[in-house]
């Protein structure tokens, strides 16, 4: 148990509806500061939906209705007074489908720092871009073509570009929706390393389909099923000694 940790974000009784269809049911979940929380569960169970609630990306989808409460530290992020823009600057996101801007690779990464004023000079911006690309393990592959379009990259490269783009903004919380899905083992290892490294200063929530990955990188794991949070606890406990049968079944691959 890691109950000594501070919850950075908390969701309470979170319900979400896509039109008539309910996609999340009474989800209660804490995301602890300086740790990695893994969200696992079968495809279509609501992981992405939940993640998107945490930085209000669902606001952009028409017909979405949300009930319940999500807090960043102590502030309710669905409060009317909240500045969504600032929220999203603090809670960054890597989407499930890589979606680079149709701009150059450099501009893709530099965009966030630019709008948030993170660089005071051109050199500093260059550094941020370089460092972010390096941390995402992409720099070597693209350093000679920073001025080419980000949409001309391979699938895995695009995914890493999106990771680099997200961390360049230096958010407090990073939400990653299957960040390694298109990556080979080596690149995956690089990203896992990055996550580990980031954990020291940031809060991370990651959706993954790989049990191994969840076990490797996360401290806490949440198992979703059909829109419900079935089990949530320390990663070790969830994987070695799940409390629920459904979790057990899923982890051992007996589910269906």
């Amino acid at each position: 148990m890691t109950s000594g940790l501070v919850p950075k974000m908390t969701a309470r009784k979170l319900n979400l509806f896509y039109g008539e269809k309910q996609a999340l049911f009474d989800v209660d979940l804490d995301i602890h500061a300086n740790s990695v929380t893994a969200l696992i569960g079968p495809s279509g169970c609501g992981k992405s939906t939940f993640l998107r609630c945490l930085n209000r990306m669902n606001d952009t989808i028409p017909n979405v209705r949300i009930q319940g409460e999500v807090k960043l530290e102590t502030a309710d992020i669905y409060d009317r007074s909240v500045d969504v823009v600032q929220l999203r600057a603090r809670v960054g996101m890597v989407f499930q489908k890589p979606n680079p801007f149709p701009k150059t690779i450099y501009d893709n990464v530099a965009y966030g720092p630019r709008i948030h004023g993170l660089a005071d000079s051109r050199e500093e911006l260059d550094q941020i871009v370089e460092r972010s690309l390096k941390r995402a393990g992409l720099y070597e592959e693209v350093k000679s073509r920073l001025q080419e379009s980000g949409t001309g990259l391979s699938g895995g490269q695009q995914q890493r570009l999106c990771i680099a783009r997200a961390i360049a903004v230096d958010p407090e919380v990073i939400l990653m929706d299957e960040p390694c899905s298109a990556l080979d083992p080596i690149a995956t290892a690089r990203i896992e390393e990055l996550i580990d490294e980031l954990r020291e200063n940031y809060t991370i929530a990651i959706v993954t389909h790989s049990m191994q990955q969840a076990a490797r990188v996360s401290q806490r794991t949440a198992f979703f099923h059909l829109g419900q949070l079935v089990e949530f606890g320390d990663t070790e406990q969830v994987f070695t000694n799940p409390r629920e049968v459904r979790t057990q079944d899923y982890i051992t691959g007996r589910f269906g």
Binding site: M57, V85, I115, T151, R165
Partner: protein, 441 residues
């Protein structure tokens, strides 16, 4: 190791028949291929048809109008009689300027064409443009020391003579059916025999404003008027149109009120343009007291008319930008305004520019609303500013097309060519910009 040595024929496989092989599939495929080719041919045909129409239209115009870019001049012997020009012999420019040049012109036709009868004199004077007297004056003022000598002076020919020289008048017709009679024909032939007829580049056409005499009429006044009017129109309609579209598409809550605005804007596009003229008359001239016939009012009125086009095109273009791009930017903490201005707008730019091109083209060709606000007018001076009376190219074309004089036919076609040139220059900038913004994702 590879299996490249293997001969595929040696290992026939017992495999299930693919639905994409075999007779039926081939037949289906042929049919689809044909339909594909047909579709492509339709598309090509459509483009070709439209371009052929354009070429036919412009070709016809060029055939009729290119002639107007030159103007016939005739040379006459002028006896610069001091008694007429400068009885006192002071060579004072003021005296020279005020001399009786119409009289001098009468002398000229008497000397050159032997016209002494009043009728003949009048007819012979009709060989020259109405400005011949001023041309003579300018000649004298420029060369006061030539007074007393006889000089050869080139004078602008009248519209009828110009038409005759350019072959638009059929000499073989009976006299009664020609705008020029046999006597004039004779004079013309005599002049031509002396090499006293020449055709020069018609600078006046490109530098002058409207005139009742075709040989003096110019297009520059209307061109400047169009430029001023369209400038005002663009300055208003582009920013307002684009911002309206942005608001409606990106920011406005989707409710009945915005639906109403949307329907409303679509509906404005269908309002006959003359009604915008009524509105402009009532609001800008009546209520705000702006001057009649002025490019500002024209610009304001046309802007109202152009707005719906720009708004509709912009909205369509904004709608076409994939949501994933908006989400990507939002996820990085870009504000809605930043999302729009940094990402969506640049990607929608081609469509916005298209709307602008078409809207402005429409505004450039419009006459009806201008009638209401006094821009369908005879204005002999090149407009000097946004509030001086002016007319615009399509109005000039409309007025010339309605003139009885044969020589205006040529001028009309030439004016249309100028308008098209104007349009092409105006569009070229937008088209180049548009190409820079175009990309696929």
């Amino acid at each position: 190791m590879t299996d490249s040595t293997l001969n595929p024929a040696e290992a026939p496989m017992a495999r299930r028949e693919s639905p994409h092989a075999g007779q039926a599939a081939a037949a289906r495929l042929r049919a689809r291929r044909r339909s594909e080719r047909r579709f492509k041919a339709y598309g090509f045909g459509a483009v070709l048809l439209a371009i052929v129409m354009l070429v036919v239209l412009i070709g016809t115009l060029a055939g009729q109008g290119l002639g107007a870019f030159t103007q016939t001049q005739i040379a006459v012997e002028v006896n610069l009689d001091p008694a007429r020009l400068d009885p006192q012999g002071t060579r004072d420019p003021k005296t020279l300027a005020d001399a009786n040049y119409t009289g001098l012109l009468t002398d000229i036709v008497r000397d050159n064409f032997g016209a002494t009868q009043r009728r003949d004199v009048l007819k012979a004077l009709g060989l020259f443009s109405r400005d011949a007297r001023f041309e003579l004056r300018d000649f004298v003022l420029a060369n006061p020391d030539l007074i007393g000598t006889t000089q050869t002076v080139w004078l602008t020919a009248s519209g009828n003579l110009d038409m005759l020289d350019k072959g638009w008048i059929d000499r073989d017709l009976p006299q009664a059916q020609r705008p020029v009679d046999d006597q004039v024909l004779g004079w013309y032939d005599a002049l031509a025999a002396k090499d006293a007829v020449s055709r020069d580049f018609n600078t006046r056409f490109f530098t002058g404003a409207d005139s009742r005499s075709p040989e003096l009429a110019g297009i520059w006044g209307a061109t400047v008027g169009s430029a001023l009017t369209l400038f005002v129109c663009f300055i208003l309609s582009f920013p307002i149109g684009v911002t309206t579209a942005i608001y409606l598409e990106e920011f406005a809550p989707k409710n009945r009120w915005t639906d109403l605005i949307e329907v409303n804007i679509n509906n404005l596009a269908a309002v006959p343009s003359i009604v915008f003229g009524l509105l402009g008359l009532a609001v800008f001239i009546g209520f705000f007291g702006m001057p009649r016939s002025a490019p500002v009012v024209g610009g304001f009125t046309l802007a109202l008319m152009t707005l719906p086009t720009i708004i509709i095109a912009t909205r369509a273009a904004l709608k076409a930008v994939p949501p994933s791009i908006r989400q990507a930017a939002q996820g990085l903490g870009a504000s809605p305004v930043q999302v729009v201005f940094h990402h969506v707008l640049p990607l929608a730019m081609p469509g916005i520019l298209t709307g602008t091109i078409i809207g402005m083209a429409q505004a450039l060709g419009e006459t009806a609303p201008l009638l209401m606000i006094g821009m369908v007018a005879f204005i002999a001076d090149v407009p000097g500013g946004f509030t001086t009376p002016s007319t615009v190219l399509p109005v000039q074309i409309f007025l010339w097309a309605d003139s009885p004089e044969r020589a205006f036919v040529e001028k009309t076609a030439a004016a249309i060519l100028v308008l098209l040139g104007f349009l092409i220059i105006m569009n070229a900038i937008a088209v180049l910009l548009r190409r820079r913004f175009e990309r696929r994702w």
